[in-house]
Amino acid sequence: MKDFIIPDRDFGTPAAKSKQMVTLNIDGFDITVPEGTSIMRAAAEIGISVPKLCATDSVDAFGSCRLCLVEIEGRNGTPASCTTPVAPGIKVHTQTGKLKQLRRGVMELYISDHPLDCLTCSANGDCELQDMAGAVGLRDVRYEAIDTHFRAKDTSGIANPNYIPRDDSNPYFSYDPQKCIVCSRCVRACEEVQGTFALTIEGRGFDSRVSFGMKSDNALASDCVSCGACVQACPTATLQEKSVIDIGTPDRSIITTCAYCGVGCSFKAEMRGDELVRMTPYKHGKANRGHSCVKGRFAYGYASHQDRILKPMIRDSINDPWQEVSWDEAMTFAANRMKGLIEKHGKKSVGVITSSRCTNEETYLVQKLTRAVFQNNNTDTCARVCHSPTGYGLGQTYGTSAGTQDFDSVEEADVIMVIGANPHSGHPVFASRMKKRLRKGAKLIVVDPRRTESVEGPHYKAAHHLALTPGTNVAVVSALAHVIVTEKLYDEAFIRERCDWDEFQDYADFISHPQHSPEALQLVTGVPAEEIRGAARLYATGGNAAIYYGLGVTEHSQGSTTVIGIANLAMLTGNIGRRGVGVNPLRGQNNVQGSCDMGSFPHELPGYRHVKGPEVRAIFEKAWGVQIDPEPGLRIPNMLDAAVEGTFKGLYCQGEDILQSDPDTKHVAAGLAAMECVIVHDLFLNETANYAHVFFPGSSFLEKDGTFTNAERRINMVRKVMAPKQGYADWEVTQMFAKAMGADWNYTHPSQIMEEIAMTTPSFAGVTYEKIETMGSVQWPCNDKAPEGTPLMHVDGFVRGKGRFINTEYVATDEKTGPRFPLLLTTGRILSQYNVGAQTRRTPNVAWHDQDVLEIHPHDAENRGIKEGSWVRLASRSGETTLRATITDKVNPGVVYTTFHHPDTQANVITTDFSDWATNCPEYKVTAVQVAPSNGPSEWQQEYNAQATLSRRIAAAE
């Protein structure tokens, strides 16, 4: 769609990257552009818009519409300006008598097979066909079309075989073939931008039609992943958001940041009044470069879902129904309870959980609440259950807890190793950028027990898929390092210069031991030794090699050890400190990086500085006027243990749902039930709220100002596009609560909170809202040394000085299979759903995934008499649940897999409380289970649902 709201011009063809410059003359003006630029783009740069239909700058030029013709002095004919590159000294004319006549003729033909219902068309005012008819001065259509694609019936009432009715199967957009001009922008966007190849042009000549795969497919049944790239590219009403069909065109737009995964895409929230009409990916967003996925582009309906709670609520006991009260009453009630607990049980008996879905400013305030107001360090965040091992592992080896690259870096990678991540589903916009690089020839190595969508897809296939047994990551990573060291594939110059040479020699001795060889570990890992050797050689010698990893690395008993092993691999091969390489954690939630940066962990203050350091405490003691406790506080599992013990009594939990997201649901429930004041601050009555005494309604990302920090350390602006539906942004709610607890906080805008962060935290010292406004975004560290931020880390040296090799001994997890539990369960995500599903389940995304299912290998299913779609009982040493099975060879025999997006499934009833040795990140990815046919929901599921229903009652207003 054209951008009619703010000037965000379409240059027609992508920018050329050449450093060689070329000067030419267009319509009498000289212009200098990079070699390889199209004439169309060069003209656009001096403000001359050559009429066009099939060209748009998100995809390569195609040259099919014949509207963008130009004349070049000394050359024959009228070449298409989109496919003709600039040449030195040429003189181009874009508007001549001949061109005008040709263009009008072309438009006349287009319009002769297009319905003229512009006034009632959903693209009215936002249609490039309409604009071009105007631009070329089309005044008359001389042809009377006999055969058309847009009339349902001919004049005698016989059905028109060329007429295809509108396809409304996708919940978010329609495909209306009668409006189609077959410019193939959608097909090319699906190929080039998204990389799914769901769309094609079938037929030839007059019969050419855009088609979702096979003729029998509709949009929903096809391979389409609903990323919206085709809708974005369509110049007419053919592919149109249903929200625009319903509401009309937007009248203004505000740039903001997506609140789903850690890619952190920039979007334009397009508004009419205070109604959100649509979200469109922002072309200049540096994380997404104009692309989007089904979640960010379309799944924002949860923000106005009827389940959203808009009034504060309180209750004496979790067995009572909720009472709606005023904000004042809620604050007084909550503060009195908390103060009572502190008085009776001491100041360490309460704590907070910060949110990785809220802004940096909000997270900062919540940890400040516990440190400065409650005066303890009892703060934790959901990163505990996802990327805490990344913090530990990268901190130990490199000196800082963050990914080393920006996402643009993948464009220069020659070898991409994906470990324990499925970007296709979890980080789809990054996956599209990665696949683009793979289609250009980069090699792929995937380490994953499952044959995920990231292993193989249209025009890419992993050179090595190491389908390891769940729980053997350290063995695989060590075996890779063994090959690199023993075959002398390491980069000695890099290691001598950048790492501690003595430590390297210790490490080399350790890893060279035959027990770490792929052959020795083959029995443990289940990966053929030759595959490991091949992958190690490719990684070490294939050029720029980049590692991207996810929760399949961290959520293990040895999560931190694997992160260290990955860091070792990059140091061994010198794949650190330049573009195209690096170690990149793919973060789960939008602001996991930010919430960690902001001091959400109980042992460190903002900027990853341990609370034991007196000089660090002094900074905050001075800023906040309080004493900071030098002892580490309670982590989430400690809070729950302490609650059961009776020493932890009160919790303020913002924007997290620990009852659903944390391991061993029964233990979490027991811990929450033992607390005397649980305050839940959320959009919805989530599962944790079943055990809450106070509910503060939250605001969505559309309703507040602030910043999110994505997986590239990029601080992006979140902008308020509408007033908070429940009255206050979340930072205001936290401030009200702090004031009720006696604090003297008087922030009037989140920018003041960022000023405090910059003042106290060296890596944020140069960050201001003005800078983010001017630069669009900024990557930390941003300070005097790097005033414009830091796209690449460890360029000239590691943050800690010398990179540090650490031995990675493989220790088998104690979660072992045996006769009672012979299968290994591992978990993951699906594209259309997000995390515990609180948001996506409340959107039409359920069209793709309405329940969690268990993937099981045909062999294991056959043994157990399990059929496709039948109910199965999934039992572990911790508990059991039921769900439906699907039979697939994506998993190996002996391995089963499920997602955790639906609370009914209660997948975490199954998971055990084994956890990472260093950080207590739970071992979600390995659970020994048994699977058996079943008739329906387990007793626990029924009991749980009964309790949840009872707990969610809201008393009728009197």
Binding site: P602, P632, N638, T912, W917
Partner: protein, 78 residues
């Protein structure tokens, strides 16, 4: 895993750390184990650990027992 025995979970966690530290040279591992517990275990957990250590360290790996003198004893009051 079963946590029926007192502090079984804590003993398990301390031993997990020990297993990682045991692959380092002995002195580094000893130092590493103690500072890991000092840095990440809140006083309540350390108090429980000392209850086990003071009772003879039953169930703890030798490295944990050896590191006891380097682990910070929490202040008595909660």
């Amino acid at each position: 895993m079963s946590h029926d025995a007192p502090h079984a979970k804590l003993i398990y966690m301390a031993n997990q750390i020990a297993k990682f530290m045991e692959s380092k040279p002995h002195d580094q591992g000893l130092e590493g184990l103690a500072s890991h517990i000092n840095d990440f275990w809140e006083p309540r957990m350390r108090r429980h650990l000392f209850e086990v250590l003071d009772a003879g360290g039953n169930g703890l790996r030798p490295l944990v027992v050896e590191a006891a003198t380097k682990i910070r004893r929490p202040a008595e009051a909660a």
